[in-house]
């Protein structure tokens, strides 16, 4: 057996083993089924929550899409600017790092106070959550561009826009792509937190309501659904990453 197949086998076997132990311990009564539902019950719960959960997931993803667009639309250009203009970088960078470091959860109550319950705070908080990691990564990427490339381009008479378009942009593609991948997880995280904190709809609200109602099976099913969606997105972005890295050559 080749090693790749042995590894695949090991992965499948260990997932099955975890499920089996989980099922057995729930059936044998080692854990309270009120808090830990066995996998067989969780599988059936998918049917029970299916439709409603998909609608809630769609709601969450729509908010995430808007927040992500805002975060990328602001973060990538601002990051390119702060990274490439030395004077701006020197003045602004400490602020960016400080804001990046502050746990955003501390301003969440204030955002909810200003924007109310529902969609607006979720989008705003999701965007803020995604913005700073994107900014920091893009700034770092632009700063890491080999200065010799810029010097050579300049000494051959390249204009500023040519330096951006032909040197800085292609050289910072990997960090921009990395920031896009990281940003989507952060935006989704932000949206879910607001939905749990002050949501009236969406997956975060559903998860919270199920937990408060002690509906463990439905809760696990809903958690699995969000997790699968998130992993799917990241894998898709990874694939895109792979493709675009060919373009850079």
């Amino acid at each position: 057996m080749s090693e790749a197949r042995r590894i695949r086998l090991l992965q499948v076997a260990s997932v099955l083993a975890v499920l089996a132990v989980w099922e057995a311990s729930a059936r044998a009564g080692w854990v309270d089924p009120l808090f830990v539902a066995p996998p067989s019950v969780v599988a059936r719960a998918f049917g029970a929550i299916g439709g409603a959960a998909l609608i809630a997931l769609g709601d969450t993803l729509a908010k995430t899409a808007v927040a992500y667009t805002l975060a990328v639309g602001l973060g990538v250009p601002a990051g390119l600017m702060i990274g490439s203009v030395r004077a701006v970088h020197d003045v602004v960078h400490p602020f960016v790092v400080a804001l990046y470091g502050i746990p955003k959860i501390l301003v969440l109550p204030w955002i909810v106070l200003l924007l109310g319950f529902g969609t607006a705070p979720a989008v705003a908080y999701g965007a803020i959550h995604g913005l700073f990691p994107i900014l920091v990564l893009v700034i770092g990427g632009v700063r890491d561009v080999d200065p010799a490339l810029i010097t050579v381009a300049r000494s051959y008479g390249a204009r500023p826009w040519q330096i951006y378009w032909k040197v800085i942009l292609p050289a910072s593609v990997p960090s921009v792509l990395a920031s896009l991948r990281l940003g989507i997880v952060f935006c989704l995280l932000g949206v879910l937190i607001v939905e749990m904190f002050a949501g009236v709809r969406g997956m975060g609200h559903v998860l919270n309501a199920l937990a408060n109602g002690f509906q463990a099976a439905q809760l696990f099913a809903a958690t699995a659904l969000v997790s699968a969606a998130s992993i799917g997105f990241v894998l898709a972005l990874d694939a895109l990453n792979e493709k675009l890295s060919h373009w850079r050559g």
Partner: protein
């Protein structure tokens, strides 16, 4: 000199604009900076929240326990996966996939299982801190020259000696970075948990002040929490600097 002058100008400009805008608008909602100072004094003098210290200590304790568990778990799992090739190739991608899930989706399940007390916050802080530490250890073990490990083993070094004399010094650089990220995330995990639902701790106080529209107190509480967070980060950076000096 001029850059720091610019920074100062930006900072004071923002504060001044905030003050003016908050006074023109609704001071209760926008909280002018001048209103925060008296609240902060009241808070630190234990007038507005007499049991502040208990809450600070509880949050600090939750963070410490969550972080200790995350370090133990992360270093253990990271070394196991990094030291064994087949295990690493089988489980590292699964860990990376789980890391791509926004961790807060696990929180309702943790709250259901561990209840509203400290345990669910510790579990969530552990979960957030565990991943970066594990991944850093994993990346670190891959940086170590495998020949060094082979040589140490063939000279009869025990697994513990291999770890302490070869692996640890070789990956220390990556490890301390991961440990620092892990601490920051464990702190965030504990505080997010407290804000989303708890009976005690800084997050609960923040929620309480916000729920009662005591916005100036809320900002003061946020500032105190930030001091707690910055202190933990400064401690971590001191350890990091120490470790770096030791490697070079």
């Amino acid at each position: 000199m001029t850059t720091s002058a610019f920074r100062l100008a930006i900072l004071s400009g923002v504060l001044a604009l905030w003050e003016i805008a908050a006074r023109a608008g609704n001071p209760l909602l926008y909280v002018p900076p001048s209103a925060v100072l008296p609240s902060l004094v009241n808070l630190v003098a234990l007038r507005s929240y007499p049991d502040l210290l208990e809450h600070v200590l509880l949050t600090a304790r939750e963070i410490a326990v969550a972080y200790a568990l995350a370090v133990a778990g992360g270093v253990g799992v990271g070394c196991a996966l990094g030291g064994h090739r087949v295990l690493g190739r089988a489980y590292a991608p699964m860990l990376a996939a789980l890391y791509a899930v926004p961790a807060v989706v696990w929180y309702p399940s943790l709250m259901l299982f561990f209840g509203l007390d400290a345990a669910s916050k510790i579990a969530f802080g552990f979960l957030l801190g565990f991943f970066p530490i594990t991944l850093a250890v994993l990346a670190g073990t891959r940086q170590v020259n495998p020949h060094l490990v082979t040589v140490a083993r063939s000279f009869g070094a025990s697994p513990l000696a291999v770890f302490a004399k070869v692996l640890l010094p070789g990956m220390l650089f990556t490890l301390v970075g991961g440990l620092r990220t892990g601490l920051a995330l464990a702190v965030i995990g504990v505080i997010v948990g407290e804000v989303l639902g708890a009976k005690a701790g800084m997050g609960t106080l923040i929620n309480h002040a916000y729920g009662l529209f005591r916005t100036a107190d809320y900002v003061a509480l946020v500032l105190v929490t930030l001091v707690l967070i910055v202190t933990s980060d400064v401690l971590a950076s001191l350890v990091e600097r120490r470790a770096r000096r030791w490697t070079t």
